[in-house]
Amino acid sequence: MIGSGAMNSGSRGFGGVLPGDAAEAPSATTPAARPEAAEQVLVARARAGDQAAFEEIFDRLQTPVVNYLYRVVGDWELAADLTQDTFLKAYQALPRTDETLQLTPWLYRIATNTALDALRRRKRITWVPFLEDFEPVAPGSDPAHTVPNDDLIRSALQAVPTDQRIPLILHLHQGLSYKEIAELLGIAPNLVAVRVFRARERFIKVYKSLTGDAES
């Protein structure tokens, strides 16, 4: 409606995942949730249009973000592209945030959504809850890797369904708490616990079978 009218039609959010959506105060118990004062200043400057400040934010966070994305999508080239997309979206969205912004969860939220979009577009990954007959990628197929362990992890992770893989990585790799993950993904903390557990079980099962293959 135009003018000063009120609308009666229902409102909708953006799938529950919204940059800068910090209606509830996040937990301040973990290091990731408690923003450093210096980071806050940097964010404020970047929000005000200081591109150098934004570049510094990028320099600080691009390594964990690209590694997170790599864990999620299992492909280094794709992770690099998605990292660029993530920070570009952050650049455009930052002016619309306010001082309640928690930079790291916010950034991971954008990264997660970016990754999910990319995974959906990728035809060879299908979205099924339990991939019992998944064929793990043979270890050593990525010649750039010289660390066999890393390749095993990557393969085992790719065997975990996406909606479980992401909470697992966010917790084990990025160090976010269940509550932070819940806020980031827009799901209940209990559901985070369930998914992390299932991801764990699946990962261990596949990892064992891969290491069992390698050893034999």
Binding site: M1, I2, M7, G13, G20, F58, A80, F197
Partner: protein, 687 residues
């Protein structure tokens, strides 16, 4: 605890996410369970494995690609959107001086302050006005008059012109402020133009054109105008537009009526640097026995402090004026105070549409968010992202928007009032959190009124301030409900409708301090009689009506009862303590039609949609003008153009109507020029 139940909790335990009760259960269980102890080991090993996995350094191409993409975004952004990097203030370049100063002698001796007006064009006129203003507060007259009138000159048509303009005791037509208008110095921000973050008044920020409205080239502060001054008056080419904005300069026409001719002048105000320049022109002079061509060069380089647009006038405060006298000597004149300079209706031209926070963007709610679009349909932008905005109200400065935003529940009444500055990027700023908030309306640019429930109790009227925390409860609403909250333009009344419970909605008014809440229209049969059924109402703009001080005018859409018609009526509220009743004037026959979606423009144009039953007939506009209550309104024909509307509003500059129509559950926003009947889409297919 059984092993099957243990494993999921073990997962939380390893992650440090188990509750104290769960921790106790785990530690009790695994003490005696080998399987789960093994599982614990596995889980811990997995954590270690993850932690040991190396972090690869990122490819440097990521950074390079990102910066390139950011540059591309910034390049594509329109100039006025580059809020982050405000353009540097341009240095003030004084206009070039021309010799000789013969013209001064020609007019220099004319008696009276008004004479000097002609010599220096409008700039000194403005200084003079300033002087009058200062005289009003006891400041002595400036010395410029004496400095300039040194040479005797025959008084001929120029003098007659001067006499005409000198008029009543030096009163310059259009120079006086509206009688009864509030003193401007009190709250200049109430009428301020949009400003940049650094406080510079912003009118227009890009696309400088170097052509005057009639096609003459403008060079650096001078026109190439040729004014011809025949023996019996002035003449000049008429401007194509009433006014125009060239780049960041305002080209303001100024006309002085005399007994013989109206004299157009042009003044160029650079609103970014605050400089006014006056055109250079030449006259062919012929009076008495003088003949020949005189060049009147531009004089006066004025520093304008602040510029405000108030309805149809440009009002500004002078800082100083530098006048060059005859022979090239400089004289400085102190100018101060406020002046009302341009009498003509001063509406920004339609081509200012490219500057969303410069003027008149359309605002609309789409899917719970506020969107804006320029009058030409360009630059559709989403201003909020919460998806929870229920209502909004645009402030009189056209820059602030108050949002009523809901809690994260679709069925909730709004629970926050947030303020958004259209001219700056950034999230809305919350100023009130309450149990329920239904509507909000601006009272000036600092205060707001709202209908809601603060903590508990019934619906009330509240006062908010954009800077102070807390609210004032102003009044409890009649019948426990209210809607359609509107503050009168001169802020003496707050109006709203209230459902009586008997099928009628009654129009109430209350003072902004909460006192004097009363039905506005007298009830049929006395104070306890039947309430008049008002479906919609709108305040008339204050300065456009010639009415006694303290009165207010409204347009209402009333359902008279007994038939299906909803008729527009003009209503005048008398000043308080006058003892008079409101007077009602019907605006013309409506027959069996219903008028809906009433909207009034700042210029006093009324518009509404007409329906016969449910069938849409068309739109109608009425120009109420000065004699709103004295005479009857003049309404144009019914215009059946465009789609059936679901909402209607004048654009804030009054140049066109914003029409919302609905098709298949989606809303379209269109603009309609009621004069040419041209329509153009603004936003289509929005939810």
């Amino acid at each position: 605890m059984k092993c099957a139940a243990c494993r999921p909790v073990l997962s939380k335990y390893v992650d440090g996410e188990a509750s104290p009760a769960e921790v106790r259960l785990i530690e009790e269980h695994i003490g005696g369970c080998a399987r789960c102890t093994a599982a614990l080991t596995e889980f811990r090993l997995m954590r270690t494995t993850f932690h040991q996995a190396p972090q690869r350094p990122p490819d440097p191409r990521i950074r390079a690609g990102l910066l390139k993409a950011i540059d591309e975004i910034e390049m594509r952004r329109p100039a006025d959107d580059r809020l982050r990097r405000p353009a540097p203030r341009q240095p003030v370049r004084p206009p070039p001086r021309r010799a000789p100063a013969i013209a001064w002698s020609w007019l220099g001796n004319l008696a009276g302050a008004a004479a000097i007006i002609l010599v220096v064009g409008t700039s000194f006129l403005l200084v003079n006005i300033g002087r009058q203003q200062r005289q009003a507060v006891g400041t002595p007259a400036s010395t410029t008059q004496a400095a300039l009138s040194t040479v005797s000159v025959p008084t001929q048509p120029a003098a007659a012109l001067v006499a005409g303009t000198a008029g009543a005791a030096g009163n310059i037509p259009g120079a006086e402020l509206t009688p009864g208008a509030p003193p401007l110095a009190e709250d200049p921000t109430a009428l301020a133009m949009p400003r940049t973050a650094t406080g510079t008044p912003v009118w227009h920020m890009a696309d400088e054109k170097e052509t005057a409205p009639d096609g003459h080239a403008i060079q650096d502060g001078q026109f190439g105008y040729q004014f011809t001054y025949p023996a019996n008056g002035w003449s000049a080419p008429a401007p194509a537009n009433d006014q125009a904005v060239l780049g960041r300069r305002l080209v303001a026409p100024w006309s002085m009526d005399s007994a013989q001719a109206s004299v157009p002048f042009y003044m160029i105000i650079d609103v970014l640097t605050g400089t006014a320049t006056i055109p250079v022109y030449t006259q062919t002079v012929s009076y008495n026995n003088w003949q020949g061509t005189r060049g009147i060069r531009q004089e006066g380089n004025q520093q304008i402090d602040e510029v405000y647009l108030r309805q149809d006038r440009l009002i500004y405060r002078l800082n100083y004026a530098l006048i060059t006298g005859p022979g090239g000597s400089d004289h400085r004149a102190e100018g101060d105070g406020w002046a009302s300079a341009i009498r003509q209706s001063f509406r920004p031209a339609a081509d200012l549409a490219h500057h969303p926070f410069g003027y008149a963007p359309a605002l609309a709610l789409r899917g719970g968010d506020l969107w804006t679009v320029n009058p030409d349909g360009s630059n559709i932008r989403q201003m909020t992202t919460s998806g929870m905005v229920r209502a909004f109200s645009l402030a009189p400065d056209l820059r602030q928007v108050a949002l009523v935003t809901a809690l994260r529940r679709e069925d909730a009444w709004g629970a926050y009032v947030e303020l958004l500055d259209l001219g700056q990027a950034g999230a809305p700023r919350r100023i009130w959190t309450a149990k329920e908030i239904h509507e909000v309306a601006w009272n000036g640019t600092q205060d707001l009124v709202a209908i809601g429930i603060d903590q508990s109790g019934g619906l009330g009227l509240y006062r908010l301030n954009r800077n102070l925390g807390g609210t004032d409860h102003l009044s409890t609403l009649p019948n426990g409900n209210a809607h359609n909250l509107q503050v009168a333009p001169d802020r003496t009344w707050v109006g709203f409708l209230s459902d009586t419970g008997t099928g009628a909605s009654e129009l109430y008014g209350v003072r902004p301090d909460g006192s004097g809440q009363t039905p506005i229209m007298p009830r049929t049969g006395g104070t306890n009689g039947t309430a008049r059924d008002v479906r919609e109402f709108a305040w008339m703009p204050a300065t456009l009506t010639s009415q006694p001080v303290g009165t207010e005018s409204l347009i209402v859409l009333e359902h008279p009862g007994g038939d299906t018609a909803v008729v527009p009526e003009a209503l005048r509220l008398p000043a308080p303590a006058s003892g008079q009743s409101p007077s009602v004037l019907s605006m013309g026959p409506i027959g069996d039609q219903q008028a809906r979606y009433l909207t009034v423009s700042p210029q006093g144009q009324v518009a509404y949609a007409l329906f016969k039953g449910d069938a849409w007939q068309g739109l109608q506009t009425c120009a109420m003008g000065d004699g709103i209550i004295i005479g009857s309104g003049h309404c144009g024909p019914v215009i059946a153009v465009g789609a059936r509307p679901s909402a209607l509003q004048w654009a804030p500059d009054g140049t066109h109507l914003l029409v919302e129509s609905q098709a298949s559950g989606k809303f379209d926003l269109q603009r309609l020029d009621p004069v040419t009947r041209a329509t153009a889409p603004l936003m289509q297919g929005s939810p």
